[in-house]
Amino acid sequence: MRVERELMRGAGPVAVLKLLEDGSKYGYELVESLSRRTDGVLAMGQSTLYPLLYNLEAQGLVRPEWQESDSGRQRKYYSLTAKGKRRLADDTKQWHAVVRALTGMGVLPQPAAELSLG
């Protein structure tokens, strides 16, 4: 199932920040993780992911760094900054509130759904 663009615009950044909470990741790894861990719901192609990453970088939420991979190729790894961590915490609270609200309205089933990214 694909989500609408507007919804994706809100969920995409927090999903990427959440993925980076565990440690730095490079673009392809993020694409794969998003697709796998959300059952494709929040899957995004390069054309969406990289602009999103560049936006997060411009906001100072992630820090990019070129590193040599095991295969010897250069890859750009992204990691959370302190500001990114704070933003993730804030966004997570807000999403919880949204989920509770939607559950209360019967949009989401009981018991309250949990974000499956954690």
Binding site: S47, P51, N55
Partner: protein, 713 residues
């Protein structure tokens, strides 16, 4: 065309000619030029001075020495050779390309595949400089093309382009290494154009604040410029696309009354005949008005004697009931040729008047003032020669002429001319009553009194501003468009027509600024409504006598319009008309005061002849020789009267509104007749010096020889 664009064009030309999908179409590197002189020609001056024939500027040699295999060597040579740069930079570009390909070869692909990837990249995004070798050496051409399009369309800076393309290439490499086909990777990439747009925006946010601020400023400026262009186009279409429509001939309206008169009622044909009889070589109006003490009085006497019949014709004219001047009357052509320089200044016929009324010339008014000066001079001659009856006839003629001047054009400004003629009549009577009262018989005095009393309006301003309204409406129909509902806007034709008023409006300024002016200048309806509003209030408020004078309620609005350039421009047609209205009112009030005073002076003289002495008060005169007591225009109280050394003194309280016993202010009699509103007199801003200079009364009779100061506030 920029160097980079030239370079790209040359490469593309070469590509389309060579079918670069395979490396076979690329010509091989030609051998370096050997020989002494070719080496000298390709050696930098620095090396030559050092005694070395390095030939380091020989492109073929540089590429050959790099050891690059074909077709890469040929590719580098052809690309560098065709670039539109000077030799040192061409060599530098070739070295960069050599390093690039050497790095690519180190990764593993064969030279032909490398050349093909390179050409794929070139086709999609231009010069290869700044691109990481990994992109063009390890990825299939279709993937390279996708990356190239994204970074090209994202309009990135070189470092950003390198970074983004490297990252995207690394992503594709990861995908390929993970077993995904290049087609699948390309398909899952998403929309390249959309990606480019999003990457462009994201990278913009990362750029330095100064750059973003400059970019915003440029965008803002461009938006302003764009809006200005759009606005100009809209206004220009309106400004140049419409033209004024002259729907009403206001001169015909003015003519209507005169054309309805019978020949016996019209004075103008007689005035015209008299003026045409006058010689060109004659005393000036100032000489005629100067009186016996004037420097040229002998010439004046000669002139009057020689033109006695002319004056009689004019005197006959003054007895007619109406002036009856018809603008455009062919009978005036000779007069206009002589006194206005052209027979057509009032149009070819009474029904056709081409110029706008604002530029209407009034040569007949000017020349009627000449006749008035002749009557004035003749009255003084008659007084000297002891002919009071003729003085009376001349005063009567002046009053009749004043009535006719009033019919020249129904505007307040013409009232100033009327007041001027009327003042001449009253002052002659003042002077002669004071200096030579015996020259007047009782019958003369009665005739004078009747003539003055019968003078309609008696110097009061005719508070009809029909002429001003006509001037504004006529100007409006000539400069504004007409939407059929009484509204319209400034047009190019109308603006150009304003040049005749001396406005500096060359054609290029009209083209450039005219459309903006049309948006700034008030429209036709707004102009008309505001003029009507102001003139209605003027007429209503100036019907009150002078002692009830209050500042014209529209004056603050007019001042506000005059004070700011933008407002002045917005209502400039009104500025051409509204000036001087209050000045005309005050001049007429001065005339009214003198008119009342001269009737009182005649009554005093009549009383003296009947009783042998001057009356102790003006009350003695009523109702036998004076119907009612004259009013002081400054206070609304009866005019002041007293006997000084057995002689009567008639005076007004004057500017300061208090009774100083008929003593003139130190500033002179003229100072005392200047109007100042009560609020100004009570104001703490009035200085002691000003109060002292204005402390005194306006002596009306007997006349005093003071400088005549205009009646103004």
């Amino acid at each position: 065309m920029s160097r980079r664009m030239t370079q790209l064009k040359l490469i593309l030309d070469w590509l389309t000619r060579r079918k670069p999908s395979s490396g076979n179409g690329i010509p091989p590197l030609p051998p370096p030029r050997d020989g002494f002189w070719p080496r000298v020609a390709s050696t930098p001056l620095r090396d030559l001075l050092a005694g070395r024939l390095s030939a380091s500027l020989d492109l073929r040699r540089v590429v050959a020495n790099s050891g690059l295999p074909e077709p890469l060597a040929g590719l580098v040579y052809e690309t560098a050779r065709r670039s539109a740069v000077r030799e040192p930079r061409r060599i530098m570009a070739a070295r960069e390309a050599i390093e690039h390909f050497q790095a690519g070869l180190a990764v593993g692909p064969p030279p032909v595949a490398l050349a093909e990837s390179y050409l794929t990249w070139e086709r999609a995004s231009g010069p290869v400089q700044g691109m990481p070798p990994v992109v063009i050496t390890t990825l299939p051409p279709e993937v390279v093309g996708t990356i190239a399009r994204v970074v090209r369309d994202a309009k990135l800076w070189p470092r950003e382009r390198h970074d983004v393309s490297s990252e995207l290439a690394a992503h594709f490499c990861d995908g390929l290494a993970n077993g995904t086909s290049s087609d699948e990777l390309t398909a899952s990439f998403g929309d390249a154009r959309s990606a480019a747009r999003l990457i462009h925006r994201a990278k913009l946010r990362s750029r330095p604040l100064a750059f973003r601020a400059l970019r915003r400023a440029c965008q803002f400026s461009a938006a302003i410029a764009g809006a200005a262009v759009v606005g100009y186009c809209f206004l220009a279409a309106r400004f140049f696309g419409n033209a004024p429509k002259i729907a009403r001939n206001y001169i015909a309206d003015v003519n209507a009354e005169s054309r309805g008169l019978s020949p016996d009622e019209r004075a103008w044909p007689l005035y015209r005949a008299a003026l045409l009889k006058l010689p060109d070589d004659r005393p000036t109006t100032d000489d005629l008005m100067a009186g016996p003490k004037g420097e040229h009085w002998p010439e004046v006497l000669t002139f009057l004697n020689a033109n006695r019949d002319t004056l009689d014709i004019a005197r006959t004219a003054t007895k007619k009931t109406h002036l009856g001047y018809v603008y455009g009357d062919p009978a005036n052509r000779e007069f206009l040729t002589r006194y206005a320089g052209s027979p057509d200044v009032h149009g070819p016929s009474p029904d056709r008047f081409e110029p706008e009324m604002m530029s209407l010339l009034l040569p007949h008014a000017q020349e009627m003032l000449t006749l008035a000066a002749m009557f004035e001079a003749d009255a003084r001659v008659a007084a000297v020669t002891g002919r009071g009856t003729r003085v009376t006839a001349d005063v009567d003629a002046l009053l009749g002429l004043a009535q006719h001047v009033r019919e020249i054009f129904p505007c307040v400004v013409v009232e100033l001319m009327v007041a001027s003629v009327h003042t001449r009549a009253t002052r002659i009577v003042f002077e002669l009553l004071a200096d030579q009262p015996t020259e007047f018989s009782e019958n003369d005095l009665k005739q004078l009194a009747h003539a003055l009393a019968g003078y309609s309006a008696a110097g009061h301003l005719r508070l009809r501003t029909d002429g001003e309204r006509m001037l504004i409406d006529d100007l409006s129909q000539r400069i504004f468009s007409d939407d059929g509902n009484g509204d319209g806007h400034l047009t190019a034709v109308g603006l150009a027509a304003l040049r005749q008023y001396g406005l500096p409006l060359p054609t290029e300024k009209i083209i450039l600024f005219g459309p903006w002016m049309s948006a700034t200048v008030a429209g036709r309806r707004e102009t008309h409504d505001l003029a009507t509003h102001w003139l209605d209030r003027f007429e209503a408020e100036r019907r009150r006598p002078l002692w009830q004078w209050r500042p014209w309620s529209a004056e603050a609005e007019i001042d506000a319009v005059s004070a700011r350039t933008a407002r002045r421009l917005r209502f400039f047609p009104l500025a051409l008309v509204m000036a001087g209205l209050d000045g005309a009112f005050l001049a007429a009030e001065a005339g009214a005061q003198e008119h009342d005073a001269v009737l009182t002076a005649i009554a005093l003289e009549l009383h003296r002849r009947r009783t042998g002495e001057w009356p102790p008060s003006l009350a003695e005169l009523t109702p036998d020789v004076l119907p009612e007591l004259p009013t002081d225009r400054f206070t609304g109280e009866p005019l002041r009267y007293r006997l000084m050394e057995g002689r009567p003194l008639l005076y007004s309280h004057g500017t300061d509104r208090d009774d100083d016993g008929g003593v003139r202010p130190t500033g002179g009699n003229g100072v005392a007749r200047m109007w100042s509103e009560s609020a100004q007199l009570d104001s703490t801003t009035v200085t002691t010096a000003w109060a002292a200079a204005h402390d005194g009364d306006w002596v009306l009779w007997p006349p005093v020889e003071d400088a005549s100061v205009p009646f103004s506030n």
